[in-house]
Symmetry: D2
Subunit: 155 residues, 4 copies
């Protein structure tokens, strides 16, 4: 991982959702069990969509759409511990034709704990077939994000 | 993702762990909630380490070591549903100096549902400082895997 | 709790479902986090219903019914630990007009770890209004249980 | 359950902890999966102990003590749904010699969704043997609760 890109910093995110780490989220190492960070990410994406004005799932339902996760990844840099108040940063980083990529990071103060990515496809509610992102969503996401999401086929 | 590598197939894995999908693991879409696959991956790595002869955590404790996840990723291709019996394939794909990379995939029959990666660092039990993988672990993992894990600094 | 009834023993159960305790299910005390036992109970009830011949939810769907939990309780006697293989015993203990009570217990070998109760109401799939248990379910549950479930309004 | 005691009301609780229901906490019925309420209860007890001035686990550590759950129960009256903001009420209802009983209830506005009980024993950190509750905890809990906790051996 010698060519790893620079780590995330707080300045890269348009929204932070704060959470207190709970006992149920820890493992016997006394740290947050790694799959739990993807639950934190899910919560942050929920709040991002709400802030954009396309709250999940009601914002997408009128379009006959639902969002389906197609990719998730995370790098675990340091650990959150019991009772820590952490800030989960989130931004829409890319808007494809049918998919949207969110970048996320978990901070304790200024210290980066975890950084990650979630990619969702906008799919038909019934058969999950990918369909173009609602244009209204694209416009609102672009209006919301201080750093314009990239566009194009590659996510 | 036009240059995405070929999808995982069952032939690539040295061990399968079978699980029945439980109600608690589903979301309102009636499918397994995506962070849950990382819990399935964790279970499969546990069984892989047991099969290698280095059961977690007791295999590493005599070396003053513990494993810490540093990277997790997954591509969600299709969804597991309630009561599905799924097979989680796992193999040690890379052995670095201080880290090990596992490749994983979830199948329902021959159908690929999810493929993923977990990277662990062998760290000091007390201060988490990375230390070389126990040589005995490297040898046993190499002996266990039909396809030899790659070696080297990059994971 | 001086008048506590006798503890559960293995002989009281018509079915056991075995589980291996996983890392994700532990807390920083190194023991299974107490709400998790209710997930184990849910799995055991699922297997009990399957064995009775009324697998959830498909067994109830033809009757326009679904099961809704109305009560859960547990006494925690001792703790399950990492990698323990535990046996979750379950039996239908009472069949009311609209509800069914399951008694459950978690054993490690002969040692009782947890005992508990789950009560479900048979409700309308759409509006959840309680409705009589399907007569076929009552008959099959009675045929399955070596110790006849009690009957009557009180659950 | 004809002799069921009156349902909990908001006036019975000394502290409320508010939570937003998250996607990960729902099941395919679109409602909170019943074991999850015990996780909500655990969070509310955590906040109750903090408010009392005996934050878990640091408040008990100087006494060589830890708290171990010995009983949990809940009645599920109605269901919390996605994105609901719910209030989890909690109070110390009984202080035994070695144990403490908390009464809990989940409300959405004034509507009762779930009511429950958690009993913890104050145990030795090393061997879990029950020991008397720290007198300072008893005094602070009594000072905190507007309705005095009952006392005595029965919990």
């Amino acid at each position: 991982m010698a060519d790893r890109p620079p780590r995330a910093t707080r300045t890269g995110f348009s929204l932070f959702h704060s959470l207190r780490v709970r006992w149920a989220e820890l493992d016997p190492q006394g740290i947050v069990f790694n799959p739990r960070y993807f639950v934190y990410f899910d919560v942050a994406v929920t709040e991002s969509l709400r802030a954009i004005g396309f709250a999940y799932p009601d914002g997408f339902a009128p379009y006959g759409s639902d969002l389906f996760a197609v990719h998730a990844s995370a790098n675990f840099v340091d650990s959150a511990r019991y009772d820590d108040v952490i800030d989960v940063g989130v931004r829409v980083a890319h808007l494809g034709r049918t998919s949207a990529r969110f970048e996320l990071a978990v901070f304790r103060g200024d210290a980066l704990l975890v950084e990650g990515t979630l990619v969702y496809v906008n799919g038909d509610r019934e058969n999950k077939a990918p369909k173009p992102l609602p244009e209204a969503f694209v416009q609102r996401a672009q209006a919301f994000e201080p750093v314009a999401p990239t566009r194009g086929a590659a996510s």
